[in-house]
């Protein structure tokens, strides 16, 4: 049979370039900047813009692995509890005399183990969805945090620990640098490695991935473990920002994180979306909140704005798609 020639170079398409989801986010961020700048004289101020990132980046570390998990069509609602548990363990051990550096290592280890347990339960019990498993572990992990610290707060960390959440390297907040490094790492992992490719494959078609030799279970466990680890990283920064720890910290973070991932264009139906989108969403929500905070908008109005933004952002591509299908 005569071989047919198949191109392996892609022509650059302006349409494809322009129609990327991320542009919508960029436009929205610009809009937020313009709006905020016109609302408050304090918004366009280098120090303020910089310090604002310190306020909203703590949970952004969880956004990175959550992108992986949602890409695969799963979800992890236990992350906030993992933050609480690993933070509480760290604070408790430190207050019992463990050197701070070791306490931080234990914090990361606790988060990793919690994530790993989630992952193992999910792949070992395929008949249970990740919603149920992480719903149960969400209660359990926070429950353990309560058992450990009871009604106490633990803290009085060494001075240098404050560095994580409050200090600058040069004039750039350390947390921003740390986030940039992690974001780059997770972005490369997702877009440049076989691991990332497999995540997409699983999200699009887990069965076909398995039949193609992709170690679906292993990858799921890794993704959930990463979510645990990054929750512990969040715990480090959040604990540093609060200067102490309690079992009830990070309440409600899971939904905020999921909202950011979804707003970033990552589809919970699995298999679609990019890291950059989620990162943009972090900044979009962060600066929107911050800007509205500068004009002291009420908490309830802020809730409504954020809810509508989420709906609007996911509805737009649906409408576009529908029109294309019918027209």
């Amino acid at each position: 049979m005569e071989p047919r020639l198949i191109a392996n170079r892609q022509e650059f398409s302006w349409k494809g370039f322009v129609l990327q989801w991320e542009w919508l986010l960029v436009v929205l961020i610009l809009a937020v900047f313009v709006m905020n700048a016109s609302l408050s004289e304090f918004f366009l101020d280098y120090d303020n813009l910089r310090d604002a990132t310190m306020g909203f980046l703590d949970k952004a570390f969880i956004v990175l692995p959550m992108v992986f998990i949602i890409l695969m069509g799963d979800i992890d609602i236990s992350v906030a509890s993992i933050v609480a548990l690993s933070s509480v363990v760290m604070a408790d051990l430190y207050s019992k005399g463990l050197p701070m550096a070791w306490a931080m290592v234990v914090c990361l280890a606790v988060g990793t183990v919690c994530g790993w347990i989630n992952g193992m339960l999910i792949v070992r019990f395929k008949e249970l969805s990740s919603v149920i498993v992480t719903l149960a572990t969400m209660i359990i992990y926070r429950g353990i945090a309560y058992i450990i610290l009871e009604d106490q707060a633990a803290g009085k960390f060494p001075k240098w620990f404050k560095f994580l959440g409050w200090e600058y390297v040069g004039s750039i907040p350390f947390i921003l640098i740390a986030f940039a490094v992690f974001a780059l790492g997770f972005g490369l992992l997702l877009h440049k490695t076989g691991f990332g490719r497999k995540l997409y494959a699983i999200g699009n078609n887990a069965t076909a991935s398995r039949f193609s030799g992709v170690e679906v279970d292993r990858i799921k466990v890794i993704a959930f473990t990463l979510a645990g680890l990054m929750s512990a990283v969040t715990a480090l920064f959040l604990t540093s920002r609060m200067g102490s720890s309690r079992p009830n910290i990070a309440t409600g973070y899971e939904l905020e994180v999921i909202a950011m991932v979804v707003l970033g264009g990552v589809s919970t139906a699995g298999g679609k979306g990019r890291m950059i989108g989620a990162i943009l969403a972090v900044f979009l929500i962060g600066y929107l909140r911050y800007g509205l905070g500068l004009v002291n908008i009420s908490a309830q109005s802020l809730l409504i704005v954020l809810g509508l933004l989420l709906i609007f952002a996911v509805a737009v591509p649906q409408l576009k798609w529908k029109r294309r299908r019918t027209g």
Partner: protein
């Protein structure tokens, strides 16, 4: 006028799917009280045509007349109301619901006043329909608990439950045993005698000769012609369907048979298969056939590490191995082309290139990073090798025709260093041209020293391509036929039991 003569008439129907013209200017006429066979190779467009009639798909061009009146079905319910019922090829069941509900979903019996669902009546009626069809399971059974054959019977009952003027059956016998088929013939004839019209699709010639008065043939999405069954010879019919002499289809290439690469001994998985023993050598094509549901796929997937067998041994190149995952199987040199290419073989939303390299990402990874250049080169080379018709490796797989999709799955297999290829129904739903191309590829692979296991339900394919054939029935190998023993009769005899009747009952009870 023709209005009185035909209950159903379709003219110039064209249906285009993204990338595929599934129907191209097709004609069809159906008389009352007629059993009309619709034949054609896989992918000829038969099922699509049926879905046009039942309002699932809307044609891009063409007209449809019911009793001489022009109709335009926008929704399956429109067709139902017009008295058309269909048994679809791929079972469309609700696994979580009862048999009764599966039969009546969409046209439940309800009390006229209270709108209450009349369970008792439906169960009784369903029970009656099932008894008529010779099934002995209760209508209250959950659908998901039934075997494929039993589910097919439910589908038939579903079509019968609507008091339809026109009944369409898309390969209803594919999963049935001979006695079950007999039952179906009887019912079809009775319906015909009541003045109903039946459109009947089947790949089995015996079905057509036993039942149909008229046969229409499609080929490559086109209408070829309509004949009275007793007026056309078998030979001419095959030429009409295939477009050439069938011997051309299977150019058996003689490969060098080498050492043994795969052997199983007493392989078994509780509830699925037992005592499966065979060996495979380099260059050999081993056929694995039997009726649908005989357990062939289960055996293949057990060897490939999808499910774990709980008894027996597997030897690869003489060494006993335990295979726990597809990845391990591939590491040992075993590749599997799955039965359902859309669900198991491909990531449909992805481009050709990515699909091809999915199973061997390690090969295109250097220092942890994927090498896009290398990836695209490999994809291009393999796509060209198996002859995918596409513009570039960036074309989405979902835009390809079934045959081309299947070729992409083949290309995936070729990326890895394999010795054994297990091909599960590689020509299912593939058009004629692609089919012969696939046969070519299979022949080439054998020549290149792969050991090939070819699972197929198509008799000519098995007979034309294989060196040896294992026939399975109800989870066991019932015959191992050498090339010189290969006849249709021998295979059929091994796939169906003489004491079919008693076994049917046993299986249904299980």
């Amino acid at each position: 006028m023709a209005e009185t003569e035909y209950v159903l008439e379709l003219k110039g129907i064209t249906k285009i799917f993204p990338g595929v013209k599934a129907l191209d200017d097709v004609y069809f006429k159906l008389r009352p009280g007629e059993i009309h066979a619709l034949m054609g190779e896989n992918g000829a467009g038969k099922s699509t045509f049926i879905k046009v009639i039942t309002g699932v798909h809307r044609p891009d061009e063409g007209e449809m007349f019911l009793n001489g009146r022009k109709v335009d079905f926008r929704h399956p319910t429109d067709a139902q109301k017009a008295g058309i019922a269909a048994i679809y090829q791929h079972v469309t069941c609700y696994p979580d619901l009862s048999v009764t509900e599966n039969i009546y979903m969409g046209h439940e019996k309800i009390a006229s006043g209270t709108k209450r669902v009349l369970w008792k009546e439906m169960h009784e009626e369903a029970g009656r329909l099932l008894r008529e069809l010779g099934a002995s399971f209760s209508p209250k059974t959950q659908m998901g608990a039934l075997s494929v054959a039993e589910q097919q019977i439910v589908e038939i009952a579903k079509a019968l439950s609507v008091d339809a003027k026109i009944i369409i059956m898309d390969e209803p016998t594919a999963a049935l045993t001979r006695s079950e088929s007999e039952e179906l013939y009887r019912i079809a004839e009775r319906l015909r005698d009541q003045g109903k019209s039946i459109i009947f699709i089947s790949h089995r010639f015996e079905d057509m000769y036993r039942l149909a008065g008229v046969v229409t043939v499609f080929r490559d999405s086109r209408y070829i012609g309509t004949w009275n069954v007793d007026e056309i010879s078998n030979h001419d019919l095959i030429i009409a369907m295939v477009g050439r002499e069938i011997s051309q289809l299977f150019p058996k290439k003689e490969a060098q048979i080498g050492e043994e690469v795969l052997r199983t001994e007493g392989l078994g998985r509780t509830g699925y298969f037992a005592d499966v023993a065979f060996s495979l050598r380099r260059g050999e094509i081993l056929g694995l056939t039997g009726l649908v549901g005989a357990g062939r796929t289960e055996v293949c997937q057990a060897i490939f590490g999808i499910d774990r067998p709980d008894k027996g041994k597997i030897f690869v190149k003489g060494r006993e191995v335990r295979i726990r995952s597809p990845r391990e199987a591939m590491g040992l040199g075993i590749g599997y082309l799955p039965e359902d290419r859309q669900k198991q073989g491909l990531v449909l939303q992805w481009a050709i290139g990515r699909n091809i390299t999915l199973s061997t990402l390690e090969k295109i990874t250097a220092k942890g990073a994927l090498q896009p250049r290398k990836e695209l080169d490999i994809a291009k080379r393999l796509a060209e090798k198996v002859g995918v018709k596409a513009k570039s490796v960036f074309d989405l797989v979902s835009s390809l025709s079934g045959g081309n999709q299947q070729k992409v799955v083949f290309a995936k297999l070729l990326t890895a260093d394999l010795d054994v290829l297990i091909l599960d129904e590689p020509t299912k739903g593939v058009d004629v041209g692609a089919k012969s191309a696939i046969y070519d590829i299979i022949g080439d692979l054998a020549c290149a020293g792969y050991g090939v296991i070819l699972v197929s339900s198509e008799m000519p394919e098995i007979i034309g391509l294989c060196d040896r054939v294992a026939v399975m029935r109800e989870g066991r190998i019932t015959a191992m036929l050498n090339r010189d023993e290969l006849t249709q009769e021998a295979i059929l005899a091994a796939s169906m039991d003489d004491a079919e009747q008693s076994r049917d009952q046993r299986r249904v009870r299980a």
